[in-house]
Amino acid sequence: MRAPLSANLGENESLLRDVYADCADVVFRRFATGDGTNALVLYVDGLTNIEELDRCVLAPLMLQTADLPARPSSGQPEGPPAPQAAQPSAQPPGQPAQSQGQPRAAEPPAQPSGPQPTAPPPGQSPAQPEQSPGPPPTRQPTTQQPPAQQPSVQPPDSPDRLANLRIPVSGAKPVADIADAVREISTGGAVLLIDGRPGGVAFGLSKWEKRSPDEPKAEPVIRGSREGFTETLADNTAQLRRKIRSPRLKMRELEIGRLSRTRVIVAYIEGLADAALIEDVTARLGRIDIDGILESGYIEELIEDNPWSPFPQVLSTERPDAAAAGLLEGRVALLVDGTPFALVVPASLASLVQSAEDYYQRFWISTAIRWLRYLFFLLSLLLPSVYVAVLTYHQEMLPTTLLLSVARSREEVPFPALIEALLMEITFEALREAGVRLPKQVGTAVSIVGVLVIGEAAVSSGLVSAPMVMVVSLTGIASFTIPRYSAGFAFRMLRFPIILLAGTLGLLGIMLGILAIIVHMCRLRSFGVPYLTPLSPANGSAMRDVFIRAPWWMLDRRPLPGEPINPRRQSGGQRPGPEPGGARG
């Protein structure tokens, strides 16, 4: 597929038509430039901005006749086509395309200073025919050696030079071979090939229907940015760039997926992210060999440390501010084309139970809410199993009155507590899943049926006891307090084995379950970083962002373990107050 684009337009066209055989959405537009040279534009219908293409590429080229008199007047009767046509014939067609493509790539930024005088006119293409006879002769004597006056010696006009000279499109780059051309076309570029010139030019005129950024549905906040990532990679990188404007924010681009050729951006901040981490991430991404990446979830599963773990080892977020916060902590963000979910690595348990809003509200509130969250987080994991264990094995732990009332309500229930709990939990999960999948209008119906009909009827008919309904509902609410859906999922799932353990070994079973989870988390690493990171191995200053949410003027240190390259994120002693610089202790 690395066949170079030759100087022969017919050859190129037949090659590309072979590649795009049976692709009804690829448009081949043949036309003749003003000077009569054959040219070809091809693009994917619907991915390319056709109006812009017509106005900025086709129109100037077709009206290029006006240019012709300019060249002959400088002494060459044959005009521009001659040097250009002569050049490829002098050298083998394959060679020059490669050798020119590379150095030229660096040229565009430098060139505009020269061609600028001529660049603006094509902007108003109707005006060009009248104006252009003037400028080219005036320019040539000034910028180039006037005495030589021999265009055959000056570097041959290459496609990208042409683009820079006469086509007012900023996103233009040379394409040297078929593979380049195909890549550009597939991302919505239009590729221009001109007879007699090796290689072609791609114009980044992509435009397709896309969603405008709206509020992140899965991570809403009360205070904080309402902007979420979208499905368009360029918009997402722009959102990150708007948050972190320093050029130290680097974005490496990779292409993953044999068929989908999904663009993946590895974003990090130079000097904050560990070079070894970046290498590790890039290497793991490089190992992926799959036909298609349709969502960042594919990548997540293919780069994890422990693929069998129920816990997410990668933080996925829809929020540009959360991704930017990760970058500022020295983490690496992965943006995947086609999904609004960015991945941030390495992740730790602490980072998965934090919400972006924790950092926007006052720290007292955030701290209190964090503790509430931790409490409910434990409840979501343990409440039903503790209920089962206490009712089955440890009745003496309940105060007598409570025990009596529970016993009374369970009098008619035909099932043991274990079965009752499993039944209700599974029903609840089913209701929740149905609520997520169904259209919104039906969703309310499901909740009415689920809550009123099933819940009420089950209790009043004595199939389920009222305390169990309370326990299950509370567990459900508790599982909604976990801000990250993926982390909440792990705990929702682990609830079931623990209920079974509670039903067989009582509190001991629950403890064994907790121990197994702790051991598993202690074994788990995310890109080399221990999962329980600020807790174990302990890191005192990072714990200030786990047990409490310390105010910003105290969060001087970046939380990643080990020796961060740049451990301090702000200057210390910024405690605010009437005296400047927190002078008062």
């Binding site: 094995y393 440890h394 003496e396 732990m397 105060p399 070994l505 009582g506 509190l507 001991l508 079973g509 403890m511 064994l512 121990l515 197994a516 702790i518 051991v519 598993h520 202690c522 074994r523 221990p530 329980l532 807790l535 174990s536 191995p537 302990a538």
Partner: protein, 370 residues
């Protein structure tokens, strides 16, 4: 010597969290009653005397570590006494840790089945614990250390809360008369705790894995002190609560927890005792299991210890079932013959090894740091 696969690195603080439950978790349950039988009302002092054994073990292990910085006790023996004798010492330690971890698992099983799950067969209780422990042990020392760092602070807080909640029932008169028969009874009473303190020999396996070796001795010594504080506090609490009756109870701490009652709602906090016990014992079982695996693999000269983790776990279960026919027999053994076994293997042998190293002038190859 084949290089063992990396066990990971632990920090000195993590070493403390590993060692502390290794002594305390089982000592708080059985030892108060055993101490009382010898020391009577002075039982609170016995752990403080016994602490000296702890220091002796820690210092011996440190001296050996200074001579052989990268070696555990098993390799030290090989270097000092030669290959053959070293293997014998290794075999002794392997069998010893097999026996002690079996007893340990049995103590755990007896406690849980005796107090909480009376109808569940003990092997099931022991097996469940060993399965989880095997999972941790397979992760290496670093994983056990991280678990300890998560679990032990929580356990320590629960323990202190438990003692605090009992204060309402305390009666200071039960301490009097102090030293009625001199200090001899408290010294006698310290023999059983001493055998527990000698379990500090585990540091010999931890020193080489430390990230900051220079702080190893300091933190080990701090741990010995902390252990003394905890054990003394336990005995004191049992004494203040029950007086000399403590000696007749199997698990005084457990019985004391039954007295707790707050606001007519928090009562019967045995569950907390069980949490302390199960979590603390879990770390202890992991540590002993780890020592057994390391000793067995190093003595046998295996290139990797991971494959032997699960088979040895099964053997621990078997040894737990064999170690005694019932709880009374187990307690009797722990108070008599096992004391000498523990003292000899965990204190005597290392001291002899150190003396031999001194006499023969052996030093480790990597002893460039003095």
């Amino acid at each position: 010597m084949t290089r063992m696969p990396d066990n990971g690195k632990i920090t000195p603080v993590q070493m403390m969290f590993l060692l502390h439950p290794t002594i305390v978790s089982t000592a708080v349950l059985l030892v108060p009653a055993m101490t009382e039988r010898h020391a009577g009302r002075d039982m609170w002092l016995s752990p403080v005397w016994a602490m000296l054994s702890g220091f002796a073990v820690v210092l011996t292990a440190w001296a050996l570590h200074r001579r052989f910085p990268d070696d555990t006790l098993i390799e030290c023996a090989g270097r000092v006494l030669g290959r053959f004798a070293g293997k014998i010492i290794g075999a002794v330690y392997t069998l010893f840790f097999w026996h002690t971890s079996g007893m340990l698992v049995r103590e755990y099983g007896e406690f849980v089945s005796g107090v909480f799950l009376m109808e569940t067969p003990t092997p099931v209780i022991m097996g469940g614990m060993l399965v989880v422990a095997a999972y941790a042990v397979r992760g290496g020392l670093e994983v056990i250390a991280r678990c300890a760092q998560i679990i032990i602070p929580f356990v320590a807080v629960l323990f202190l809360a438990l003692v605090l909640l009992q204060t309402r029932e305390f009666d200071a008169d039960r301490l009097l008369p102090m030293f009625e028969y001199g200090i001899l009874p408290s010294l006698k009473g310290s023999i059983v705790p001493q055998s527990w303190y000698t379990e500090f020999i585990a540091v010999s396996f931890f020193y080489p894995a430390l990230t900051d070796r220079s702080k190893g001795l300091r933190w080990a010594a701090v741990t010995v002190l902390l252990v003394a504080v905890f054990l003394s506090l336990t005995n004191l609490a049992a004494l203040l609560m029950f007086g000399e009756l403590a000696g007749r109870l199997v698990y005084p701490v457990m019985s004391a927890a039954r007295y707790i009652e707050i606001a007519d709602f928090l009562e019967h906090l045995e569950a907390i005792v069980m949490a302390i016990w199960v979590f603390g014992t879990f770390i202890k079982i992991c540590v002993f299991y780890h020592l057994l695996v390391q000793c067995a693999a190093r003595t046998a000269g295996l290139s990797d210890w991971r494959p032997v983790v699960h088979p040895l776990g099964l053997l621990i279960l078997v040894s737990g079932i064999w170690s005694a026919s019932n709880l009374q027999e187990l307690i009797r053994a722990l108070g008599s013959s096992v004391v000498f076994e523990l003292l000899f293997v965990q204190l005597g042998l290392p001291v002899l090894l150190l003396l031999a190293a001194l006499v023969r002038g052996k030093k480790g190859s990597a002893a460039e740091a003095q």
